[in-house]
Point group: C2
Chain length 121, copies 2
């Protein structure tokens, strides 16, 4: 049987839209999503789950109510469940998100930045 | 408050042992583990869970009973629950494993390659 690796660069080359996570793999009930981020997101939290950010290319800052974390390619951070956060990237950053299937990118703060969920590429 | 990114290279620089996954982060009940692999592992499976491999540096082959997948840096693969597999790396590969807390590296095939579990660095 032929098994196929999932290549992050290849998957990222398939779309241009920013702030719109695309699912590339699933492990049990968790999904791996690639996303392109630039500019400022909205403050939000995920009340039921932690959320993992792995930076694949570029740099990302995640603001919290009492501080921030700066991430560059080859770094990760787990945002704890329920913690308000707001991602920001001056230039486009390419990020791998890992979180349970069904998590909405803006948490309960639905609005213009809320992306369609569970979109596979 | 000061938040700290988790840097894969920095974590990998903290140890030399091969086939001995070290936990660097936890998301809900899932753990992120860095590991250095070289040579041939043992055939095993994880009967309760899928297991994710992300290659950070080098190349890795995962053999299955009916084929294999080749992975290089920037690629990932999810080994489905219960599927027999055997990782192999000709030169040392540096890998990020993601799986539920408590998963033993050799599955039920405990032996000389079985590593201490839940070791944080």
């Amino acid at each position: 049987m032929s098994y196929q690796a999932i290549n992050f660069k290849d998957k990222l080359a398939l779309f241009d839209e920013q702030w719109s996570p695309k699912v590339i793999a699933q492990m049990n009930d968790y999904q791996f999503k690639v996303v392109k981020l630039q500019g400022e997101f909205v403050w939000h939290n995920h009340c039921d789950t932690d959320e993992t950010f792995i930076v694949l290319e570029g740099s990302l800052r995640i603001d919290f109510e009492d501080g921030a974390v700066n991430l560059t390619a080859g770094e990760m951070f787990v945002v704890p469940k329920g913690v308000e956060h707001k991602p920001f990237a001056e230039k486009e950053a390419k990020v791998l998100l890992i979180e349970p299937r069904g998590v909405v990118n803006t948490g309960q703060q639905t609005g213009s930045k809320t992306a369609k969920n569970d979109v596979w590429i």
